[in-house]
Symmetry: C2
Subunit: 219 residues, 2 copies
DNA sequence: GCTTTTTTGTACCATTTCGCAAAGAATTCC
DNA sequence: GGAATTCTTTGCGAAATGGTACAAAAAAGC
């Protein structure tokens, strides 16, 4: 038999578009739905978010939600993981960038403020900080993720400062670890204050003051 | 008529013990009950705390709770006010103390860590920070209280640093406002991390690093 | 002793919550 | 076209939630 006109068994490893699934096609896009769920969790927190709300936000009815992501807790965890991935993407290149330390910090905090102040109904803050304050306390798995988030940020800042030292932008006498913790503390304080609707101007003032201190007060 | 042996109408302004109320006496002490409610709110947050739980914790049944403190939201607000009052008492004299700046900061953070790490079932963190992350977003009254809390702390630290400058412990070139915001940021970062069960040793390391920087890195 | 006042205790209600079972719809495979 | 598969839809149900009505109880006033 010669090749029939039927779609041949071209295996096409890592099918990018339609994996040709077997049954009824999904009425939603998992990625989009997860994003909507994340939005809601960020707005109201885990406890105050209902499955009805999630259902409405994602456009999926309850059983579909359950089938796609598991129960509420699993959906929360997947949402949080998504948040972290997004944040890594948004921050990653800035941290890796070769700008002078001061410029680099400015851009990092600018992006952070964009993330924290976004939101249709009130600023959404930092999801890691929010989760640390609530679910992380009683749920070990979530706690582990949050701690990892803190460590990741500390580490990123630390390598940032160490690089600056190597480039001679900072005195070698400075302790990069300490500076990194201060930088993280500044992230945390603006995240919390943003959530309480402190205006961006004030948050930027805090950031600028902190940068001055970290880069050696002298202007 | 001479004085009868009956308890005379000694008005006893500001009756300290028994105001001789009219009806059935309360079976609880309002102050104690409010403390128990606060404990529960700090542990689980507003949304995850049920009236049943509050009822059990305070020993008051639901209608009594309602009669004494109002609905859940009002009880939460009263609990938070109580927390702030307690914190002010615990911190007040240290802030007002005349110790050298470094010692003073050390003691402030030690007391803060005591507050944040206390709790039978997991560290309870800073209630202001927790509330900022959750209820403050959608409730203007609560938000106002939280913002006031932030401002109060910033201001206390600022006067602290200004005093140190006057005493010549810090260079006059330093910006007391900026230092105060850093000090607050350090409070916030240890509050959040404490809630995620970062061990006290690590938190103390963060504090010590921050103090070094604030007091002018040189040991 | 009787009334008045204040609090307690029981019971209840309407609503919301999370989760699931079961039947129907849309697609692929043969 | 029919079986198999996967998802959607409707609807249910058991539990928990915030809040309240109402009668009984415990004190003071007269």
């Amino acid at each position: 038999m010669v090749q029939k006109s039927k779609k041949p068994p071209v295996p096409r490893i890592d099918a990018p578009v339609q994996p040709k699934r077997r049954g009824r096609p999904r009425a939603y896009e998992p990625g989009v739905a997860l994003g909507k769920a994340l939005d809601l969790f960020r707005k109201d927190g885990f406890a105050a978010t209902s499955l009805d709300g999630l259902s409405a936000a994602t456009g999926m009815n309850r059983p579909s939600l359950y089938g796609a992501f598991g129960d509420k807790r699993e959906l929360f965890i997947k949402s949080y993981r998504r948040y972290r991935d997004d944040a890594r993407v948004a921050m990653g290149d800035i941290f890796r960038n070769e700008l002078p330390i001061r410029k680099r910090l400015e851009r990092i905090y600018a992006v952070a403020l964009d993330i924290y102040l976004s939101g249709e109904s009130g600023p959404r803050g930092c999801f890691t900080v929010m989760t640390a304050a609530s679910e992380a306390v009683h749920d070990p798995d979530i706690r582990a993720m949050v701690l990892e988030g803190f460590a990741e940020l500390d580490k990123a800042f630390a390598t940032c400062f160490r690089l600056a030292q190597e480039k001679g932008e900072l005195p070698v006498s400075a302790d990069a670890t300490v500076l990194a913790q201060l930088a993280s503390a500044t992230i945390h304080t603006i995240a919390i204050r943003a959530r309480a609707q402190v205006p961006r101007k004030e948050l930027e003032a805090i950031v600028n003051g902190a940068i001055d201190v970290m880069c050696g007060a002298a202007k």
